[in-house]
Symmetry: C2
Subunit: 217 residues, 2 copies
DNA sequence: GTCTATAGGTGGATAGAC
DNA sequence: GTCTATCCACCTATAGAC
């Protein structure tokens, strides 16, 4: 993949990423992509085998970024709390900086069994997920996290907040009073911070008793 | 809407609900719906004006159920904790009992600006959301809930768990080791219970200090 | 109410000139 | 590398028989 050799190629990729994420795969036409990219739609078939291949290339590109920054957080974190906060924060940054990413991911999550089932997204995400589970388990063993929550479920709950906020962005915008365009950037950032607080509040062991051994299942 | 006058009508509605939620609106064809419903595809145009109208009718039907059971929870709840637990639990039951509902909702959330933007979903959901915010605020005032969380954000975080679990069902299935078909029913039920615990753990005021007045923003 | 047949339109993909 | 022109399959929607 040369840096900028084929300018049209990236133009097509960017245009397609935008259209696929806002309209969905089936609803997006080859001609729309061509127009949005400023090239003839037939050119698409010079760079990509077909519509589906183009789509999968976009998913692949996105996933690489996602997992890279995800694993980095865990490598650098010094404590369980730091890891949890770091992951939530990175999630938030990524969703905010790449506005089309959340929807594309959302569609993949929903569409999994359907046509272009890219198992990659789940498989790779599983890596980050497994590490989050470990971190939570460690926190429970060392006593800083409450141990009456299933670590895997707690991981899902923790991750869900930021992802949901961005997937449901239009709806969230409406319930918060900003309209269907979604909340402004500063509110989004504030929520990202909140999500980390909420997660830590849920995970942290109650400071009173300190001794609870009931383990789920 | 007579009880069971037009048998074919409901057959079409059910078939369409299934197909739209699994494949999406654009990817689903009129002929598929006809076949799935066991009637000729042209019959669809006898009962519904066009494809979009049929789709919107399905959304409407689903939303009615959703908001009805949502508001009932708040009417019956005797305490803040009971209301939060009740809502999470009702969310879970509904998602479990109507297996196609979560995806349909997910698609609507993501698609909002796109073609069939049904503002209904957000508007009606806003009613339930507003009441959840009130409940959390009440809990904060009475001291049983920690008051350093923004009630609106806390409401979003609380709701997000169950919705995300069901939207991302295939991915969740994979990371939990059950494959892309999703986790079995008992695991789903266990998660629903967990989600309530997680939310209460996050919301409940730390039993130690009991006196914190820092308010977000 | 339910079907057959088909009109009318659009979308993905290819051939081939430049 | 990029474009024009076009083929073919398929999809929505309608007309009209039963």
């Amino acid at each position: 993949m040369p840096p900028d050799d084929a300018h049209s190629r990236t133009a097509i990729l960017d245009a397609a990423e935008k259209l696929f994420s806002t309209q969905g795969y089936a609803a997006t036409t080859i001609k729309q992509i061509g127009t949005e990219a400023g090239v003839n739609s037939a050119l698409l078939y010079y760079y990509f085998a077909d519509k589906l291949t183009l789509y999968q290339e976009i998913i692949r590109r996105l996933l690489e970024t996602l997992t890279r920054s995800g694993t980095r957080v865990f490598d650098e974190a010094k404590s369980a709390e730091e890891a949890v906060r770091g992951l939530v924060s990175v999630q938030g940054e990524l969703m905010t900086s790449r506005p089309y990413a959340p929807r594309l991911i959302a569609r993949e999550l929903v569409d999994h069994e359907a046509e272009h089932a890219s198992e990659h997204i789940s498989k790779l995400a599983a890596g980050v997920f497994a590490r989050l589970c470990e971190v939570i388990r460690d926190g429970q063993r060392s006593g800083i996290f409450r141990d009456d929550l299933d670590p895997r479920f707690a991981a899902i709950s923790t991750i869900s907040q930021v992802v949901y906020f961005h997937i449901a962005r239009p709806a969230v915008g409406i319930v918060l009073g900003y309209g269907p365009a979604g909340p402004p950037a500063d509110v989004t950032r504030t929520f990202n911070a909140h999500a980390a607080d909420y997660a830590i509040a849920a995970l942290t062991a109650p400071s009173s008793g300190r001794k609870r051994t009931r383990k789920q299942k």
